[in-house]
């Protein structure tokens, strides 16, 4: 008989085949590895830790929020009515009832360094009913908007964020934890829906005394409104804060300036830059955009010089009675003066900065043959603080 080879049983064929395949793969790997093998060596460096400053150096600009007009020789408060709880109120343009969806928009300034975490942010709103027959209370709810989007809603017509009682102004502070970064805070918009709870047939207006956002980055800050929109009538009316931007919204002082410098007659500007304690302030400057209230005739010019203060302590002067900081004869063309203030060189001086602008008409004004004494028109008064925090 022809001798036949022994064949594995069918149940052994598959493992044998896989064994063959695996063996081939291992052999191929070994061959390839052997062909690629080579010597190598390594050495290390570091680790190296790199930490950045808490606040990078950069300019942060804020407009004057507290303005005192002493052109008459006595100070008059011309501050932003919505920036301080000072009894200077702004009434809604229209009587407003609950459920109307009519609103007030408050756009906050952008004076904080970007990219910083914000802690304990809150919206501070002070309001009251304007009163009158059968008047009630002032109430509101509000939205927090950033970058065109609503990032938070606080209250509703059914559950007010807060109410005052009668005509007594009451400050209601509401936490707005949705504001987590100065990137949101800068230019933040608060949309307030106010209403007055009086007799529906006699619904009254609401008086607003304060609308600010406060909180802390590395130090406490206050963000002030730079623009206010009243849409309680259904037709939005915008009121920019006149010191905030070069936009044609101006402030004309109350009384024509004198024929010679008088240190009791000035415009006094206060800024609240919120420079964090410990910051290194490398530059501060004032931008003053202004002109005369009318053309100064007969060879005269409206001039000014300024004095800086750390609270009540004089820091320095820029210009003098004999050497004005700037002059103009124009009653229409704005002059833009940027004045470095090197004496303002730390966080304390920055946060307490107060500037008096002494105006006069040079060489004289009033009387026969002399130019008429004029007022000043200010479009913007802005201070820029350049600083960093290690």
């Amino acid at each position: 008989m022809r001798r036949r080879g022994r064949h594995p049983s069918p149940e052994l064929r598959r493992p044998l085949r896989w064994g063959a395949v695996l063996g081939s793969a291992i052999a191929a790997f070994a061959v390839v590895s052997g062909s690629l093998a080579g010597l190598s060596s390594l050495t290390t460096g570091g680790p190296q830790t790199i930490v950045t400053k808490r606040i990078f150096s950069g300019p942060r600009s804020v407009n004057a929020v507290d303005v005192r007009d002493a052109s008459s020789g006595a100070e008059s408060n011309k501050s932003d009515a919505l920036s301080f709880a000072d009894g200077v109120v702004t009434a809604t343009s229209t009587a407003i009832a609950s459920g109307t969806n009519r609103y007030l928009d408050f756009t906050m300034n952008s004076g904080r360094p970007g990219g910083l975490p914000v802690s304990s942010p809150q919206f501070n709103f002070r309001l009251a009913s304007a009163g009158g027959a059968q008047s009630g209370n002032g109430c509101f709810w509000f939205e927090v908007r950033s970058g065109g989007s609503v990032i938070g809603t606080h209250g509703s017509y059914a559950a007010a964020a807060g109410c005052s009682t009668g005509t007594t102004q009451t400050t209601i502070s509401t936490s707005i934890p949705e504001v987590t970064s100065t990137d949101q805070l800068n230019g933040l918009l608060i949309r307030v829906y106010p209403w007055e709870t009086g007799n529906p047939g006699k619904t009254k207006v609401v008086n607003i005394d304060l609308a600010t956002v406060t909180g802390s980055t590395y130090s406490a800050f206050t963000a002030y409104e730079t623009s206010y929109v009243d849409n309680t009538s259904g037709t939005p009316a915008t009121t920019p804060w006149f010191m905030a931007a070069v936009d044609g919204t101006t402030y004309t002082d109350a009384t024509a300036w004198p024929a010679a410098v008088t240190t009791t007659k000035y415009l006094k500007l206060t800024f609240d830059p919120g420079v964090p304690a410990g910051s290194v302030v490398t530059a501060v400057s004032l931008k003053n955009v202004w002109h005369a209230s009318s053309a100064v005739t007969n060879g005269g010019t409206l001039c000014y010089y300024l004095e800086t203060f750390n609270g009540a302590t004089s820091l320095g002067t820029h210009g003098s009675a004999g050497s004005p900081q700037a002059c103009t004869a124009s009653g229409t063309v704005f002059a833009t003066d940027t004045i470095p203030l090197p004496e303002v060189n730390d966080a304390t001086k920055s946060n307490n900065l107060l500037i008096k602008l002494y105006y006069w008409v040079s060489p004289t004004c009033g009387g026969a043959g002399n130019p008429t004494c004029v007022k000043s028109v200010t479009d913007q008064a802005e201070a820029t603080f350049t600083y960093y925090l290690d």
């Binding site: 060596s41 050495t43 190296q48 790199i50 990078f56």
Partner: protein, 219 residues
């Protein structure tokens, strides 16, 4: 099936026939075996006679020993020195010596960096930290801290500016010769374009230089 030894009548072929004869005649088989034995013995004796002569031999041997490849750093190695309060536009210079300490020269070297503590400083490839490496033909002259270096010899670029985190970055213009040293200066920069999002951050960077041997040659 028929056996190949089975008789198939007239169609049997010679081998089959011979086999049949061999196995069918016991005396013939014995004769055949005896004949083969005699022939084999004779052949063996003849063969012994053929190889029985003078012999001599010589031998040679050689030893093959492999070399070593060793990449080390030092004595200068400032890469462990960090930096704080870094602002946009700041740069940090740190020197490191790479020694090709083995007996085999290197063919190439690469650098791999990784962040053991990570932040946007090392993940932002555009505005985050960047590094560049250059080489001085002699040891760098150090001043500081903060450390800065000047070269009294010739400088050349080893790595053009790149994001601080990279894998197997090819290093150029290195000596790589066994027994030599390259004097490197690593410059880490936070670009001036770094924005506020990069404030108050911290990253820790580890550096690994890897060298591989030269190509094989005839020895």
């Amino acid at each position: 099936m028929m056996s190949p030894f089975r008789v198939r009548g007239a169609r049997c072929q010679l081998p089959t026939t011979l086999s049949m004869r061999l196995f069918t005649s016991g005396s013939n088989v014995h004769k055949l075996i005896a004949s083969l034995a005699v022939l084999g013995a004779a052949a063996a004796i003849a063969g012994l006679g053929t190889y029985a002569t003078f012999t001599s031999s010589t031998s040679a041997s050689h030893t093959i020993a492999t070399g070593t490849l060793s990449l080390t750093s030092g004595p200068t190695n400032r890469l462990g020195t960090g930096a704080s309060l870094v602002a946009a536009g700041d740069s940090m210079q740190r020197a490191i010596d790479l020694n090709y300490a083995g007996s085999i020269s290197f063919g190439s070297a690469t650098l791999t960096t990784n962040a053991t503590t990570s932040s946007a400083l090392d993940t932002d490839a555009t505005d985050g930290l960047h590094m560049a490496i250059d080489k001085c033909s002699v040891a760098w002259t150090e001043s500081g801290p903060p450390y800065t270096y000047t070269c009294s010899g010739t400088t050349s670029s080893v790595l053009a500016s790149a994001p601080v985190i990279g894998s197997n970055l090819a290093l150029s213009n290195l000596t790589l010769t066994a027994g030599s040293t390259d004097h490197l200066r690593v410059t880490v920069t936070l670009p001036g374009t770094a924005g506020n999002s990069l404030q108050n951050l911290s990253s820790t960077i580890a550096y690994t230089f890897t060298g591989v041997q030269r190509a094989g040659t005839s020895q």
